[in-house]
Amino acid sequence: MYKRGIVQVWSLEQPDWHCKIDEGSAGLVASCWSPDGRHILNTTEFHCSLSLCQLRITVWSLCTKSVSYIKYPKACQQGVVFTKDGRYMAVAERRDCKDFISIFVCSNWQLLRHFDTETQDLFGIEWAPNGCVLAAWDSCLEYKLLLYSLDGRLLSSYRAYEWPLGIKSVAWSPSSQFLAIGSFDEKVRILNHVTWKKITEFEHPATIASKKTIVYKEVEKSPSVETERLSFPPTKALASSLFSTQSKYEISQVPVSLQYIKPVADRANPKVGVGMLAFSADNCFLATKNDSIPNAVWVWDIRRLKLLVVLEQLCPIQGFQWDPRQPRLALCTGTSRVFLWSPAGCVAVQVPGEGDFQIVSLSWHSSGDSMVLLSKDNCCVCYLEREEVK
């Protein structure tokens, strides 16, 4: 509850355990868990008579009665990131109009390294899955990506072009071999971890002409109603099936032209560029979304560095996520259907239920057997049957 400045914590195993953190009127900006699940990091606005007003991260420990503070964090999109193994935490800071990065050891919250970055306005940082490289990138006004080693040395910096709008999204591949950068010029550039140089770039044009790409198009089908079976009053199942439309995938013939929305030129934060990037867990696929073609998800084959599949939906894509175990992509478009794609094919799944369940976001369980579908007010858990391998 950001407005009231209170953070409430419940335990899943012990239902009567409860924790409440009151930040007072200090103003709670953000809150997140630490990877060991025993600390809560609250970013608050801090002030004291001597120092200038800035943000402060309070690390509340649930096991000890200790509190730690981290000064001058930056309230950017991704200011606090943890390594995959949860040992180190990187915090983006800004002091006197200069950006810094601090690296902390999560076991005792000790500062390990503190260094400045050559960015104008640090927008985001992200650890590589192997925990040894930290990527930091500038805001969209400047295309600049910096790579730092765990001990704070600058390994390399990458800049694709100078003046047009720059980086929109960044993703590491699970093996830390590749770093994908999605930018406002509707391209994804992939850097390799040995030389930190670009190995290829993927384009997202509105017309797909390559014969080797499969384009799946979502097609709506209204079910045929047999008038004999109509009964009064209509049963629930019948009602829902009458008015709900089913959709399925069809393969479109190449060349296909996708729905392209021209961005408004004189507005800030234009809806253009690659805004979503995700690598599959087995390092073989990359899913991207071009914001100027909001209804399509592009799946690239990383082994061949080629476009593999384009999924064209009827509504704009709200989010997608890869299964943590298999190369399986789940995406939602704000309708009550969740769509799954795997190299074997793709399927549209209707969420059963009354009324509209508009899926806004989804999240896989770490075992890959189930996922949580979230709408504005509700959430639903979807179980996937696993095929038995004999």
Binding site: S11, W17, C19, I21, D22, E23, G24, S25, A26, D36, G37, R38, E45, H47, S49, L52, C53, Q54, T58, W60, S61, L62, C63, T64, K65, S66, V67, R87, Y88, D96, C97, V105, N108, Q110, L112, R113, Q120, D121, N130, G131, C132, L141, E142, S149, L150, D151, E162, W163, V194
Partner: protein, 582 residues
């Protein structure tokens, strides 16, 4: 020479159309005469006579003669006088001189003609050249005009080009300028942003100070139930030691990551090296073998020896897994060399194929196009021939299988007739043989009968003789040849008995004999053999053997007699018995 004066000659008589041209004056030679002579050009044909008469008249004959003589001598001809200063003329020399003068005249005429011809030719050549010259001048004019036009166009295009270059430069300059503008504005914006950020911070701070409630400063947390730490340990104090430990751990993490990466790279490196080695070996194997011209052989030999050295070296070194610069360079250089050689070889082959080279190459692998074509033609011919053969054979087969019924019947009849005739012939032969055999058998039987009769008679005689002997012997002596005679007697008695038996057999009707022929002769033969065996046992002399044989003979004769009616079937038995006969 003497000088000549132009002297007017008095008008000649008769034809006065002479035109005398006085050409020149000549000095008189010192030896010249005082007479005045004229030299006149060749006159026209009309005035021949007048001309000739003009020179020499009756008055000045001598003078003219002497004049002529003088001229001729000066020209190199012999004098026309008989003697040096006499007045008699040498006719022969005159005629010779005339002849020579005529010849000279002819020569001069010819020379004149030639000169005129040449003159004409040169005139026409000149005309021709003048024409050519005129044409070339025209062409020159035209090309000059063209050049001017092209130059004009070239100038226009160049000016356009320059304009475009200029435009391009202008655009580039503009772009550069705009970029400069953008960069300067960006720096300005950044500076402004920073300033505003600072201002904003200050303002926020002041606002907070104004609005802040002191009570809210206390921020505390009460924990009712402590949750255990995730890893079960207790919290630790923050000391330098811990800091050092943190550093250490961090470096360990980094180092382990680097080591892992290095291992991966090493593995990749080793794989790539292996692949390169394999490639090198394969390239070497693809290159042409060493059986070529000596020049190339030497080159290949050298190269190959280098290669072998390289391979040897690299193999050794790979075993030790060195990865230093020199090894890498060696490997890549050798692969490049091999690849270049292979490329050259492939290019050579391409050239060969395109040129259709033949004859000079003695390479077994390389077949010239012509030879190849010849072979293909030959093969095609063979194929055609074989196909034709197959077709004809098929036709024949079809004829055989699917011809008309009549023809089949005819054919079958033909075959049957053939066979029938053959069989008939064989039957005839068979019948002939049968007749022959019959004849022989009859003759044999007759012979056997005669033999039998003779034997009978002989036996009777013998019997008689023996009786007589016995009687005589018993009368004379009793000890000698006792053994033989009684046996002989016994045998003879036996034989008599047997003879009686056989005759009794003969009396039986032949029909009965037919059926039982097979049984009885066997029995009799058994009996005979038994008898002979017995007789053999009794006496071991040759005499009883003879008797035995004769017994057999007799028996056979009787047997055959009885078997005559049975027909062909018993030929075999007869043959067997025939064999026993000597």
């Amino acid at each position: 020479m003497g000088d000549w004066k132009t002297i007017t000659v008095p008008v000649l008589s008769s034809d006065s159309k002479n035109i005398f041209q006085y050409t020149s004056e000549r000095k008189r030679s010192p030896t010249s005469m005082n007479s005045q002579v004229l030299r006149l050009p060749l006159p026209s044909s009309k005035n021949m006579h007048s001309f000739f008469s003009a020179f020499c008249t009756e008055e000045n004959i001598e003078q003219s003669i002497s004049y002529i003589d003088r001229e001729l001598t000066t020209l190199g001809f012999p004098s026309i006088y008989a003697e040096s200063k006499g007045k008699e003329l040498n006719l022969i020399s005159i005629i010779n001189c005339i002849n020579e003068l005529l010849a000279l005249q002819h020569k001069n005429l010819r020379a004149q003609e030639e000169v005129e011809m040449q003159h004409l030719k040169l005139g026409s050549d000149m005309d021709h050249l003048q024409n050519c010259y005129a044409k070339l001048k025209e062409q020159l004019e035209l090309s000059k005009r063209e050049i001017v036009g092209l130059q004009e166009r070239d100038r226009q295009l160049q000016s356009k080009n320059r304009n475009l270059h200029q435009l391009l430069k202008n655009e580039k300059d503009e772009v550069q300028k705009l970029q400069n503008i953008i960069s300067s504005r960006a720096t300005q914006y950044n500076h402004d942003m920073k300033r505003k950020e600072r201002e904003y911070n200050k303002l926020k701070d002041r606002l907070r100070q104004l609005v802040m409630n002191k009570k809210d400063k206390k921020i505390a947390m009460e924990v009712l139930n402590y949750v255990g730490r995730a890893d079960g340990k207790r919290g630790a104090w923050r000391t330098d030691k811990t800091e050092a430990r943190n550093e250490e751990e961090m470096y360990k993490v980094l180092l382990s990551d680097y080591e892992q990466r290095q291992k991966q790279l090493l593995v990749e490196n080793a794989e790539l090296k292996k692949v390169l080695q394999q490639m090198k070996k394969e390239i070497i194997s693809l290159l042409p073998p060493q059986k070529q011209k000596p020049k190339e052989r030497s080159e290949d030999g050298l190269v190959l020896s280098d290669l072998e050295e390289d391979i040897g070296e690299l193999n050794k070194e790979n075993m030790w897994e060195l990865s230093c610069e020199t090894v890498r360079e060696q490997l890549t250089n050798s692969i490049r060399k091999q690849w270049r050689m292979l490329k050259n070889h492939v290019e050579k082959l391409d050239n060969q194929v395109s040129r259709g080279h033949s004859g000079a190459w003695n390479e077994k692998d390389v077949i010239s196009r012509e030879d190849h074509e010849l072979e293909t033609e030959k093969l095609e011919l063979e194929i055609q021939q074989c196909k034709e053969m197959i077709k004809t054979q098929q036709q024949l087969l079809q004829q055989q299988l699917t011809c008309d019924d009549e023809t089949t019947l005819l054919l079958q009849d033909c075959y049957l007739l053939e066979e029938r005739e053959r069989l008939q012939e064989e039957w005839r032969l068979f019948q002939e043989q049968k007749k022959n055999f019959e004849k022989e058998r009859r003759s044999f039987t007759e012979a056997a009968i005669r033999l039998g009769l003779e034997r009978k008679a002989f036996e009777e005689d013998r019997g008689m003789w023996l009786k007589q002997q016995f009687l005589s012997m018993t009368a004379d002596c009793k000890h000698s040849e006792n053994v033989t005679t009684p046996s002989a007697f016994l045998r003879s008695s036996d034989q008599d008995n047997w003879l009686v038996k056989s005759t009794s057999q003969q009396r039986k009707p032949p029909s009965v004999l037919n059926g039982s022929v097979s049984a009885e002769p066997c029995q009799t033969s058994q009996y005979i053999t038994h008898n002979s065996v017995e007789s053999k046992k009794i006496a071991g002399d040759s005499m009883p053997n003879l008797w035995v044989e004769s017994d057999d003979k007799e028996e056979t004769g009787e047997c055959t007699k009885s078997w005559e009616d049975s027909g062909v079937g018993t030929l075999l038995c007869r043959n067997l018995h025939m064999e026993q006969l000597p």
